[in-house]
């Protein structure tokens, strides 16, 4: 059994290495001409819109470079990962081994990312993560060839706690879904809130994606904390916001959260969301020339308004352009590409940011308040905030 596994994993590594050019003289790859870029994103299911926004963003960044990477033509490959973790390794292998992509861009779902992470570590293929915030990707399982352009799950909440204490909320209740993203968001909140002198009165949780909040809202009403902090996202977030207001808590106990609470759900939540304060690495309403220019160009190109996911895709494109330019499009010159990306300063619509040692953005986190279905920026909650990268050891 052991030897068979050894044979399989070694040959997988061999095939992977061959496909990414490690075993070929770079001149052979260079002659093949085109840069092979693979998208592994959700194009169906709950996250389909996120996948499309990310791909649009990547394409916009590259189109602004004349549609080429380091002066070379691009050949695109696409795999729908269906947000299905059990197919993560298989789908990533398709791109790496069948399509022989030079770079794999993906994905949204943290569980699927763990599959990509395995393939990226086994084969050494360049992987740019445009969304999935799972800690392990840039902590315990970090790799020189894996870069994240979005956020780590605890990054937004790492800025939240301090902002809440500064507003005079000394006693807070934390509430979230009990799953990896919720736990990781809590880690950030706990650190910053207690460090700033706040006390977490109670930590409430319910299984993902359960949306029966009533019992927990009753408990919050009985505890009467100064404020509530939470992590929810998507349809469940809209439901939580509405239930929070319906329970009569909205005007009595202010609601704070990781920015995903109010991303993309403000139409669904309606007036119940007014006044919610969140922390996030971007806001549609960010009042900078760079953001305005980006929003205009995106709207022109795709006839729709960009969101945070489009920005993350756009930044992934910018990072790729940066890496490719350094080697004139020859992405097989991996050490040079990685070095260029590590030292890149990305001039993003969210503001300039750089890569941390563990390949996660060091970025500003904004404080936003919901007003009339918009996340209005009311300040910067943290300047140049980095994820700890705890446990990351790159060879």
């Amino acid at each position: 059994m052991t030897t068979r596994r050894l044979v399989i994993s070694r040959s997988a590594a061999l095939v992977g290495a061959a496909s990414t050019g490690l075993l070929l003289p770079s001149i052979v790859r260079a002659q093949s001409g085109k840069v092979r870029v693979g998208f592994m994103l959700p194009y169906t299911g709950t996250f389909a819109q996120l996948g499309v926004a990310i791909e649009n963003g990547v394409r916009l960044a590259i189109d602004q470079q004349g549609g080429k990477l380091g002066g070379r033509e691009i050949e695109w490959f696409k795999v729908d990962d269906e947000s299905e973790p059990s197919k993560g390794v298989e789908n990533a292998s398709k791109l790496v081994q069948r399509d022989k992509v030079d770079v794999l861009i993906g994905t949204v779902h943290s569980g699927v990312q763990m599959g990509i992470q395995k393939v990226a570590r086994d084969t050494g293929v360049l992987n740019l993560i445009p969304n999935a915030g799972v800690h392990a990707a840039t902590r315990a399982l970090c790799a020189p060839n894996v870069f994240r352009t979005s956020f780590s799950n605890s990054q937004p909440t790492l800025a939240l706690g301090k902002a809440m204490v500064e507003k005079g909320h000394k006693k807070a209740v934390w509430i979230t879904w009990k799953y990896a993203a919720g736990d990781e968001a809590f880690e950030g909140f706990k650190e910053s809130y207690t460090k700033a002198g706040g006390t977490i009165v109670k930590e409430l949780g319910l299984p993902f994606p359960n949306v029966e909040f009533q019992a927990l809202l009753t408990e919050i009403a009985a505890l009467k904390p100064d404020a509530v902090a939470c992590f929810f996202a998507g349809g469940g977030a809209a439901k939580f916001i509405k239930d929070y207001a319906a329970a009569g808590l909205k005007d009595k106990i202010p609601l704070y959260g990781s920015g995903f609470l109010t991303e993309g759900v403000l139409d669904a939540a309606g007036p119940a969301a007014d006044g919610i304060i969140t922390t996030m690495h971007y806001s549609d309403s960010l009042d900078t020339p760079r953001n305005k220019q980006f929003r205009l160009e995106y709207a022109k190109a795709f006839r729709s308004q960009p969101d945070v996911y489009a920005v993350q895709g756009y930044d992934t494109g910018l990072l790729l352009v940066h890496g490719a330019n350094a080697v004139k499009g020859d992405l097989s010159a991996k050490p040079a590409v990685i070095k260029a990306m590590e030292s890149a300063v990305i001039d993003s619509p969210r503001g300039k940011w750089t890569m941390s040692k563990s390949h996660n953005p060091v970025q500003d986190i904004y404080l936003r308040r919901v007003e009339n279905k918009e996340n209005k920026v009311i300040g910067v909650a943290a300047k140049a905030l980095a994820d700890s990268g705890a446990g990351c050891r790159m060879g």
Binding site: T46, L206, P209, V211, E212, E219, A222, G235, A247
Partner: protein, 287 residues
């Protein structure tokens, strides 16, 4: 926990328990009377919720949606019974499990084609969209009382149907001794169709009334199904009375667990089940 909080959480747990009962009653009836293990029962709950979502959008009224949806679901149940289930009454439980497990996938795919994969909210009817204030921060939403009311009404109706009517007598006779009942002139085939449709109807109505408080989302049936099996196993397979007691017990443990021990809340219900099975391996009210 002060008294007002306790009272509200008690109401919450009763409401959740009654909802579970509506589902578990159908599950346990179908098993107890026809011997069919129906893993697709949760899918009927999901279909009910999606029907409620569509119909309340169409009619603009949840009451009409519930009545129309219940009728649709019952017809759907009759067709399904005629097409598929009746061929499986005499088959092995393993065959039934495979059939109904396959049905879960078919229903999920149908749901995906018809309604997509988004999460939907269903509005609470205006008439019921208010709360009863108890203290300065605590209040109880009237819609949840409505859910409990619907469940209690249906539970009473179910009790009367089974214990007081001629049809109920036949159902009980069929469950007790199928061959004897049949030779006495009871149309067992018809009885089975009725019981099955009744189970589907109960699950669908549960999904519809729960839709405004639980939202409508893909795979919502599977988590509820697991809870239903827990209820049926605790209550004793085939016992409707057992299902009621067990559902209230599970509602209580789940609700208070979430609040008092949020770290382990997900496990508490299963620990309850394990404890009950240690004490009474056949469930609380094995018939």
């Amino acid at each position: 926990m002060d008294f007002a909080t306790f009272l509200i959480q008690l109401l919450n747990s009763v409401q959740y328990g009654l909802l579970l009962f509506m589902l578990a009653a159908g599950l346990t009836l179908i098993f107890g009377i026809m011997g069919v293990v129906n893993l697709a029962h949760g899918s009927f709950y999901m279909l009910g919720a999606y029907l409620g979502y569509s119909l309340s959008g169409q009619f603009g009224s949840l009451t009409l949606a519930i009545l129309g949806g219940a009728a649709l679901a019952v017809v759907f149940g009759l067709v399904l019974e005629w097409l598929l289930f009746r061929h499986f009454y005499h088959r092995d439980h393993l065959d039934q499990v495979l059939l109904t497990f396959g049905l879960i996938y078919i229903f999920e795919e149908l749901r995906s084609i018809l309604w997509g994969d988004d999460v939907h909210g269903v509005a609470i009817p205006k008439l019921l969209d208010w709360s009863i204030p108890l203290t300065d921060t605590l209040s109880y939403p009237v819609y949840r009382l409505f859910i409990s009311g619907v469940c209690i009404a249906l539970a009473v109706a179910l009790y009367l149907l089974i214990s007081k009517t001629r049809l109920g007598m036949k159902i009980r006779a069929g469950a007790f001794n199928r061959d004897m009942a049949e030779s006495l002139g009871v149309n067992i085939k018809l009885i089975h169709a009725i019981v099955f449709a009744l189970g589907v109807g109960l699950a669908a109505v549960a999904g519809m009334v729960a839709a405004p408080v639980s939202s409508v989302y893909p795979n919502m049936g599977s988590s509820v199904l697991i809870m239903c099996f827990v209820v049926v196993v605790i209550g004793g397979i085939g016992s409707v009375r057992g299902a009621l007691i067990a559902a209230l017990l599970v509602g209580f443990v789940d609700t208070f667990g979430k609040v008092l021990l949020p770290q382990v809340a997900g496990m508490l219900v299963y620990m309850l089940m394990a404890a009950v099975l240690l004490w009474k391996p056949e469930g609380l009210f094995k018939q």
